[in-house]
Amino acid sequence: MAPSTDSNVKDENSQVSYKKDINTKTGRILQNKKHSNDIFDVIEYLQSEKDKEIIFATNACKRVFCQLFYRGDLYVGDLPQEEELMSGDRSAEEKYRIFMRHRYNNCVELLLENMGHEAFQVKEASLCALMKFVEAEGKHPLQNLDLIEHYIFPRELLRTLVEHLLSTEEDMSLLISRFQEFLEMDDVRYYVMSSVRDNIYRVMGRNKKAVIPVYQNNVYTLLSNINVPSQGSKMKHFLVKQAYRPEEWKAGKLKEHKRAFEQMWLLFLKFKLPSSMYKKILVILHESIMPQMSDPTLLIDFLSAAYDIGGAISLLALNGLFILIHKHNLDYPDFYKKLYSLLDPSIFHVKYRARFFHLVNIFLSSTHLPAYLVAAFVKRFARLSLTAPPTALLILLPFICNLIRRHPSCRVLIHRPSAAEEPCDDPYVIEEEDPAQCHALESSLWEIKTLQKHYHPDVAKAAMKINEPLTEQEEEISEVLELSTFELMERDLKAERKTIPLEFDTATELLKSPREVLGVHFSLE
């Protein structure tokens, strides 16, 4: 039997020939135990150069071994070594089974290897085949187990599968998203979660807690695809049905799921993460992770660490912290102080500006905050507004006005009739980190006064409001939170105007006008 010679020789016929070859061989294997050696050839195809051959062979293997599982032709129990096969006194039937079991193991190994193949189709086919084996093993366990103590599930196979899925070298996000369909099954999800946990522990421990971006990205992709159902009654979708007391099976309990989910995430977050990963996690944290955990307060370590990092990550961590403080009664010392120190010009340019302002608005909505604190925030925002783009200013100015409305004691910032008229230095200290020490209450909002001369009419109008006593009604800022510059531009572009004023100094040249600046510094050509 020369398996691959003919396929190597004739390339043009190869497509037909390898299919025919594999088909005939699988047929023979299943028909007669005499031809069981053909399995070698089929398995060998799994190492072929050509993607199509591998895929076809994978499907063939899947078929063959599933059939064997069904027939019970695979050896059950502790597998003896292949070398010992001849020595022991076993029946031919038993020998055949041991042989086949060894081939099965070979096949699984190859398939796991193929999950690291460069072609996605190969990976996908291997994954599907392996999941099929998982299902088959679940129905026809290969180990002799005490049914009362253990529920049947091929944990070992799934564990190795997950291990290969969470590669440390390769980005497996596509395959993981394919894997998501299996995660719909409750038992698969449960065991995947526990094996992911083991895997993270082992891999990160091996790497001495250093950052492994590729691996962590894979883990994140897998983790973010895991969704625990909201109700226990929905847990009825299993890959492997349990015959014995299914109601006590851990994989069927919501509580266990939540616990596993929580442990898995906590373990993942325990290790150091790359900063982009922080952002990714924090963006989905409050929506898809926290509600599924049994005890979200355990995230406090992670969140406070993230909050201390600074920059955009801190801004994002705010959201999680807010939920913990708001819903889980968490006490966070110096929260406002930290929030205060978060405010720097970059907040106007980050992607999450809208979310940040939404949260800050909530944090500062309490009327029980001390006046000095609110004044410090107001003053800081005002100072920052001097560098802000118009879209941010349209959020910021009403926001500042709202703060002053909520805290009438801060009105001195815009109205101090008792003071003498002569100008003085601004007592506010921008460098001071502590809102209590920055003398904000003694200052005035001259920044807003400056912005009354802003080039954009809407901004200037918004800034004009501090000239007169503020109205009682707070301004709604939620609709301007998502405003982009182009939308702002369109407001003017689409506005109907009756007349269009023109420049009356008719120009004669490009760089010649009464107030030429460009022409002074640059010339044509």
């Binding site: 783009p389 109205h415 531009m489 007349t499 269009i500 009356f504 009464p514 107030r515 640059f522």
Partner: protein, 772 residues
């Protein structure tokens, strides 16, 4: 004294007639309506009523009106006594009889005359003699007719017809009586006849005379008619030829008379006056601009359009920037010779003049810059910036020093250059055709302009504009509006070419400006679309990639042109406000990755500065960008040589010098002083009392409507009630009629029976007697 004539309005008359005499206040008649509550200030009309009296009054009224109408129902004929003086209370019965008698006699007299053939008796109809009427032609019209009527009515009718109006009759009769009482009746009658004949004769002669006169008048009219009307009837043209001399003269006179009087024309303005007007115009425009800058007059309709129409709209001549400049220049000179130089426009003009002078220098500088750039290319960006700054300052200093000299020699150089220009233009004109069709598409325009020098392109455009001026044809407006869009596109293309052809762009600016002045709306739309397109694409790239490249040169040129065309100092402007936002977006979100980007960024900064230079507004993004650039240089400093470091240090020192020593101070803010709100006063609320109960409706119309509705309802109810009462009254009357008729009948029957019975009794008694 007059028999009551029953007409339709009878019941109304009764109602209007004075009510029955004052009701005696019989206490048994009075019914008092008890009031439940006393309401202050309410006057009720119905607290005391006299039901019996009012009922009887109503019945009486019905008897007077309704009953009478009922009785006269279906009886159309009435008897009216038409005898003479029947209703005249002033005549005594004797006089009445006498008058009637004379009338009677006269009538018989007339009848006798009928058979007298010698005398003509005129038959009349409506007081006009029938003979006359038959003779009558159209010539005698209503005027004379009425005259005759007057004559007739006075005496003749009175004599001929016994009837006639009583009053008139009475008067004439009275007169006659006074005069002719002593004369006998015969005489009187003869006199009457004589009079009437005389009158008739007179009238006839009058009539003839009138006819003659009208005919004469007609003829005369015909002779004049030609003069009055422009169009003479064809028949009369022949007459015209008969007397041509007179007509010609007449016509001449008339023509002169009707000719438009020469209006006193405006005095030809002297240069001075023109300059003053120009200055005034500029001042108003400047004031407008400042107003718009403050944002007060945002919706003010007063626009710069006026100045466009003042200049060029009608005559198809686009005011060139050049000649205006010379004009303004004179103006400036004049003012220097005078005493005051205050207004901004003059300053502007002077600057303009200087700039022209500086042109050469500028060019030189430009070359320098180029060289420097060449050297600098591998050097640091800030260095370049710095060099620019330095050179600018240098030139500015020069300006300051040599300003006077330049002004002295300013008179000649422009003239010379203009001559040269003219010569060049002349040469160009020789080659180019004089008319161009307006391009229908962008490619047309491109074909038209490509392959020509920048000066020629300007000429081509100029001629195109003049050939297709909107005043020449209706479709030209749309064509030129489109042309503006194409021009912008063309300019963009010129800027994106490699190498960019900015000289041509610069040369085309006056045409673009002119077009913009002609069609502000179209220009605004065109620039807006370009801005929004590039703004949109930038936003998209930002969303997809997270960073966007700096805008290209065409965008920079467009922004610059925007600043030239539209006032960037306005508080809100449909074009410049978006342009501001575009600048801001470009300065904040665009990534600076190369030296080219830095350069573009600096151009943007200059533009931003130019935009806000008049309005003195704050542009935070500009500061941010410059700070960012400085940070870039500092981080690079360690890698670069010390030369750069020195430059940066110089720059640093200069900037520090520019910033005042003391940090700026701020007065504490105070709200604007506001008029205190007056206390609420408890003035009584004045409510209009309406003639119906509840107050409904808010607006005046609604209230009026409600009032009318209410009134209608009440009237309707009242009318219904009245009608019911009427029918009841009528029924009662009918019943009483029937009853009385029956009673009468019964009585009569009884009577008859009685008489019969007595007859019978008598007869029987007689019989019995006889038998006995």
């Amino acid at each position: 004294n007059r028999k009551p004539t029953f007409s339709r309005g009878l019941s109304d008359k009764v109602r209007k007639s004075k009510a029955a005499p004052e009701i005696q206040k019989n206490p048994f008649e009075v019914k008092i309506n008890r009031k439940k509550f006393d309401v202050l200030g309410r006057k009720s009309k119905h607290d005391v009523g006299l039901p019996g009296v009012s009922r009887s009054r109503a019945i009486q009224k019905r008897k007077d009106t309704l009953l009478k109408e009922f009785r006269l129902k279906d009886k159309n004929n009435t008897f009216i006594d038409r005898r003479f003086g029947e209703y005249d209370s002033k005549l005594t019965p004797e006089e009445k009889i006498l008058q009637r008698f004379t009338l009677e006699r006269q009538r018989t007299q007339d009848r006798k005359d009928m058979y007298n053939l010698n005398e003509e008796e005129e038959l009349t109809h409506y007081g006009q003699s029938l003979a006359e009427m038959e003779k009558m032609t159209d010539v005698i019209d209503s005027d004379s007719d009425s005259e005759e009527k007057g004559l007739l009515s006075a005496e003749l009718t009175a004599t001929h017809f016994g009837g006639g109006g009583g009053l008139l009759r009475k008067k004439s009769a009275g007169d006659e009586e006074e005069e002719h009482k002593p004369r006998s009746r015969q005489e009187l009658i003869e006199e009457l006849i004589f009079k009437s004949k005389q009158e008739k004769r007179e009238r006839q002669t009058q009539k003839e005379e009138a006819q003659e006169l009208t005919e004469k008048l007609d003829q005369e009219w015909k002779s004049i008619q030609n003069l009055l009307a422009h169009k003479t009837p064809k028949a009369e043209r022949t007459d015209e030829t008969d007397k041509p001399k007179l007509d010609q003269y007449d016509m001449m006179v008339r023509e002169l008379g009707f000719e438009m009087k020469a209006q006193p024309s405006e005095k030809l303005k002297s240069a001075e006056e023109l300059a003053r007007e120009e200055r005034q115009r500029l001042q108003t425009l400047e004031a407008d601009r400042l107003k718009r800058m403050m944002g007060d007059a945002e919706e003010d309709a007063v626009q710069t359009n006026t100045h466009v129409s003042a200049d060029d709209m009608n005559d198809g001549f686009i005011l060139d920037g050049d000649d205006r400049k010379t004009l303004a220049y004179k103006d400036g000179k004049w003012n220097i010779e005078g005493e005051e130089e205050e207004k901004e426009d003059e300053d502007g003009d002077e600057e303009g003049g200087e700039e022209e002078d500086e042109d050469d220098e500028d060019d030189a500088e430009g070359e320098d810059d180029e060289e420097e750039e060449g050297e600098d290319d591998e050097e640091d960006d800030a260095d370049e910036d710095h060099c620019d700054l330095q050179s600018d300052e240098g030139s500015e200093d020069e300006d300051g020093q040599g300003a006077e000299e330049e002004q002295l020699c300013a008179e000649e150089p422009p003239a010379v250059s203009e001559e040269q220009k003219k010569a060049a233009q002349e040469a160009a004109r020789a080659e180019l055709p004089y008319t161009f069709p307006a391009p229908e598409s962008y490619s047309d325009l491109k074909q038209l302009l490509q392959g020509h020098g920048s000066e020629q392109q300007r000429l081509i455009l100029d001629r195109t504009l003049k050939c297709n001026h909107p005043s020449l044809s209706a479709g030209n407006k749309a064509k030129l509006q489109k042309l503006f869009g194409f021009l912008l596109e063309y300019v963009g293309d010129l800027a994106t070419q490699n190498p960019p052809d900015l000289r041509t762009v610069s040369a085309l600016i006056p045409q673009i400006c002119g077009l913009c002045q002609m069609f502000p709306e179209a220009a605004c739309k065109a620039v807006q679309t370009l801005l929004s397109d590039s703004g949109h694409s930038m936003e998209e790239t930002l969303e997809v990639k997270g960073r966007a490249p700096m805008p290209d040169l065409d965008m920079l040129v467009l922004l610059k042109i925007t600043a030239l065309l539209f006032p960037s100092s306005d508080f809100r402007h449909p074009v410049t406000t978006p342009a501001f936002l575009f600048l801001s977006q470009a300065l904040t979100r665009c990534a600076v990755v190369s030296l080219e980007d830095v350069c573009k960024g600096l151009v943007l900064c200059c533009l931003a500065l130019e935009y806000v230079s008049l309005s003195q507004r704050i542009f935070p993004e500009l500061l941010n960008f410059l700070l960012g650039l400085l940070h870039l240089t500092v981080s690079d400093k360690h890698n670069m040589g010390t030369a750069v470091c020195v430059c940066v240090c110089d720059l640093h020192r200069e900037i520090l010098d520019a910033i005042p020593e003391k940090p700026s101070q701020h007065a504490p803010l105070v709200f604007k002083k506001k008029k205190p709100i007056p206390l609420k006063l408890f003035t009584p609320k004045i409510v209009q009392i309406l003639d119906y109960g509840k107050k409904r409706g808010n607006t005046k119309e609604e209230k009026e409507r409600e009032r009318l509705k209410h009134k209608y309802k009440r009237e309707f109810k009242g009318a219904l009630r009245e009608i019911r009462k009427d029918t009841r009254f009528l029924a009662r009357e009918k019943l009483s009629d029937v009853m009385s008729r029956d009673a009468e009948r019964k009585r009569k029957v009884k009577e008859l029976y009685g008489s019969l019975a007595t007859q019978e009794g008598e007869w029987k008694a007689l019989k019995r007697k006889n038998r006995k």
